[in-house]
C-alpha cells in the first residue's frame, strides 16, 4: 500500500513541486540558522540600518539583525504548525476511530461535538484565548489543535465505517480478531492516506493561523514569528525598509504556504479517486 502511494504521488506534478520546495526550504533555513551570526534578541546594533556585509538584511527598529530574526521566526512559525497539526491529527484519529468503532452514544456525542466546534471560526476562539489568557505559544498550538481536529475526525470516521464493512475486515472479525487487533492491523494502516491529508491540511492552517495571530499581535511581543516581523515592518511601510525587512518574511511565508498547499492539493487529487482525470 505504502509503496503504491508513493508511486502514484511521484507522478503528480504538484506533489513533486511541493516536495522539492519543502526540501529546499528545509535546507535553506537549516543552513541559514547555521550562518546567522547573531543572537536574534541582541538589540545592540544601530536601528534601521540598511543591508550590509555584516547585516545581510539590515537591522530592524529595535536594533536587531533581521536575518537572524527571520531564521528564528521561520523556525518558530513552522514548529508551531507542526506541533499543532500533529496534536490535531492525533486527536482526530482518536476521536474518529472511537466514533466509528464504538458508535452509539459515544460516537454520537463525539460527532455532534465536532460539528459544533467546526461551526465556530477557529480564529475567533484563538483570539479570545490569546487575549484573555495570554498563554505561551505551545499552549496556543495545543488550543488550535483542540479546535481543528473535527475535520480529520469526520474523515477518519466515515472512512473507517466504510472499511469496517469491507470483506477482509469482516473476515478478520469472524476469525475472532479483537477490536484492538482489527484497529491496529487493518484500520490504522488502511487509513494512512487520510493521515497525510489531515496532517498537511492542519499544518497549512496552523502555520497560517500562527502568522495571522502574530500579525494581529496576539503573541508575546518578544516572540519571533513571521507574522510579528511583518507587523513591525509594516509600521514603517512608508520608509525604505520594503526590500530588506518586509519582503523577506513575506516571501518566506508565501513559499512555506505554497509548498504545503501544493502537497495538500496533490494529496487530495491522488486520494480522491473521483477527481481523477478520465
Amino acid at each position: 500500500m505504502k509503496h503504491n502511494i508513493f508511486n502514484v504521488l511521484i507522478i503528480n506534478r504538484w506533489f513533486v513541486f511541493g516536495i522539492i520546495l519543502a526540501v529546499l526550504l528545509v535546507i535553506v533555513f537549516t543552513a541559514g540558522a547555521w550562518f546567522s551570526r547573531y543572537d536574534p534578541y541582541n538589540a545592540s546594533f544601530s536601528p534601521l540600518s540598511p543591508p550590509s556585509a555584516r547585516h545581510w538584511l539590515g537591522v530592524n527598529d529595535g536594533g536587531m539583525d533581521i536575518f537572524s530574526e527571520l531564521m528564528y521566526a521561520v523556525r518558530n512559525t513552522v514548529l508551531f504548525g507542526v506541533l499543532s497539526a500533529a496534536a490535531a491529527l492525533a486527536l482526530g484519529i482518536f476521536a474518529g476511530l472511537t466514533a466509528a468503532w464504538k458508535g452509539g452514544l459515544t460516537g454520537n456525542i463525539l460527532m455532534r461535538l465536532s460539528e459544533v466546534i467546526m461551526s465556530v471560526p477557529p480564529v475567533m476562539i484563538m483570539i479570545i484565548v490569546a487575549s484573555f489568557m495570554r498563554p505561551s505559544a505551545v499552549t496556543l498550538a495545543f488550543t488550535l489543535s483542540l479546535v481543528s481536529w473535527p475535520t480529520t475526525a469526520k474523515a477518519i470516521r466515515s472512512q473507517a465505517l466504510a472499511l469496517r464493512e469491507r470483506m477482509h475486515v469482516r473476515a478478520a472479525r469472524d476469525m475472532g480478531g479483537t477490536s484492538s487487533y482489527i484497529i491496529v492491523r487493518h484500520l490504522l494502516p488502511e487509513l494512512f492516506p487520510l493521515y497525510l491529508i489531515g496532517f498537511i491540511a492542519k499544518l497549512r492552517m496552523a502555520v497560517f493561523m500562527e502568522a495571522s495571530l502574530a500579525f494581529l499581535g496576539l503573541f508575546d511581543p518578544a516572540r519571533k514569528s513571521i507574522g510579528s516581523m511583518i507587523r513591525y515592518a509594516l509600521q514603517y511601510y512608508y520608509l525604505d525598509v520594503w526590500l530588506n525587512w518586509l519582503i523577506p518574511p513575506v516571501v518566506c511565508f508565501s513559499l512555506i504556504i505554497m509548498s504545503i498547499t501544493f502537497l495538500a492539493i496533490s494529496l487530495e487529487e491522488v486520494f480522491d479517486p473521483r477527481l481523477k482525470e478520465i
Partner: protein, 331 residues
C-alpha cells in the same frame, strides 16, 4: 396539479431533519455562554480582570460605574437581555459604546467580504464549470494558475499589492475606506469608497477564487461522468442546458457544502487583509482593540462575528435544502 408539487415541497421542507441547524444553534448558545462566563472566571473582579492589561486609564468614577454595569448583568437572563437590546457595554479605550463601534465597522466588512465572496463564488464557479467542460491547454493553464494562487497567502498578496499599486505606482490609496473629510456627494462618495476598496477586494478575491474554481472543476468532472448527464446529452438538449441545467446544477452542491467551512477558515485572512489596508471594518477594529488590550471590545467583536458566521452557515443550510431535494427527507 402544480399546487400539489408546491405543497409537497413545503411539507418536506418543514418535516426535514434540522440536525445541522440545531448544531449551529447549540454552537451559538455555547458562544454566548462563553461570553457570559469569561469575565467571571478570570481572576479578580470585573475591572481588574478586563482592564488590568489595558492601555486605558480608568478613573475611580469610571471604575465604580463599570462595576455597577457589570453587576447589572449578574444573571444569565439579564446578560441575554442586554445582548438582545444591543447593550454591549462601553469601550473606555475608544470612549464609545461597543455597539456603536461594531455597527459603524460592520457595513464596511459586510461590503468587502460580501462582494469578494460573491464575485469569487460566481466567477470561480463558472470558470470551474467551463474548465471541466472544455478540457484542453487553456484548462491546464488555468488549473496551474489557480493552484499557484491557492498557495499564495492573503498576507503576502495583500502586502505585495500594497507595495506595487499603492506605494510604487501610487494608483490606489494605501489605507482607509474613504477619503477623510472630503465632503463628497453621494455619487462621488460611492466612487471614492469603491476606489479605496479595490486593493483589499482584489486581495480577498484572489484568495477566494482558486478554492471555488478548483472545487467547482473537481465536482463538475465527477458530474460529467455521471449517467444522468449522458441522458441529458442523448436527449439532444442544447449544450448550455446540459452544462448548466444538469451539470452545474449538481456541481454546485459540494461547492455550497464546503463554503461554510471555508468561510470560517477564510476569516483569519480577512482580518489580516483589513488590517494591512487599514480598512475601517471589524478586522481593523479588532486589531486596534487587541493592540490597546480592550478586552470587553475584543470579546464583543468575537462574539458578534462568530454569531454572524453561524447565521451565514444557517442560511447556507437552508439554501442547500432548496438546492438538493435529497436532503429534504433525509432522516
Amino acid at each position: 396539479m402544480k399546487m400539489e408539487g408546491k405543497e409537497l415541497r413545503i411539507k418536506t421542507f418543514l418535516s426535514h431533519n434540522t440536525r445541522r441547524i440545531m448544531t449551529y444553534l447549540i454552537a451559538a448558545f455555547l458562544l454566548i455562554l462563553l461570553g457570559y462566563y469569561l469575565p467571571r472566571v478570570l481572576p479578580g473582579d470585573y475591572v481588574t480582570a478586563m482592564y488590568s492589561q489595558s492601555q486605558a486609564i480608568i478613573t475611580e468614577e469610571e471604575e465604580a460605574w463599570l462595576k455597577a454595569e457589570y453587576a447589572d448583568k449578574e444573571s444569565f437572563c439579564e446578560y441575554i437581555i442586554a445582548l438582545v437590546t444591543l447593550d454591549w457595554g462601553y469601550s473606555l479605550v475608544f470612549s464609545e459604546p461597543v455597539s456603536d463601534l461594531i455597527f459603524s465597522a460592520l457595513p464596511w466588512t459586510l461590503f468587502l467580504l460580501g462582494s469578494a465572496h460573491l464575485l469569487a463564488m460566481i466567477i470561480g464557479f463558472i470558470a470551474g464549470v467551463e474548465a471541466a467542460w472544455r478540457r484542453g491547454p487553456l484548462e491546464k493553464l488555468s488549473v496551474g494558475l489557480m493552484t499557484f494562487l491557492e498557495g499564495a497567502p492573503e498576507i503576502a498578496t495583500g502586502i505585495l499589492l500594497l507595495f506595487i499599486f499603492a506605494l510604487v505606482l501610487g494608483w490606489f490609496p494605501a489605507a482607509g475606506g474613504e477619503t477623510a473629510y472630503a465632503g463628497y456627494g453621494m455619487f462621488r462618495w460611492g466612487l471614492d469608497v469603491l476606489y479605496h476598496t479595490i486593493l483589499p477586494f482584489i486581495t480577498l478575491f484572489f484568495a477566494y477564487l482558486p478554492g471555488n474554481f478548483l472545487l467547482a472543476r473537481g465536482s463538475m468532472i465527477v458530474i460529467l461522468k455521471s449517467p444522468f448527464l449522458k441522458t441529458a446529452y442523448a436527449k439532444g438538449l442544447p449544450s448550455l442546458r446540459v452544462r448548466y441545467g444538469h451539470g452545474a446544477r449538481n456541481a454546485l452542491l459540494p461547492v455550497v457544502t464546503r463554503f461554510g467551512l471555508r468561510f470560517s477558515f477564510m476569516l483569519t485572512g480577512a482580518l489580516v487583509v483589513e488590517t494591512i489596508f487599514s480598512y475601517p471594518g471589524l478586522g481593523t477594529l479588532l486589531f486596534k482593540s487587541i493592540a490597546l488590550r480592550d478586552l470587553p471590545l475584543i470579546q464583543a467583536i468575537v462574539l458578534f462575528s462568530s454569531l454572524l458566521v453561524l447565521t451565514v452557515n444557517i442560511a447556507l443550510e437552508i439554501c442547500y435544502r432548496f438546492l438538493d431535494p435529497r436532503v429534504r427527507n433525509e432522516t
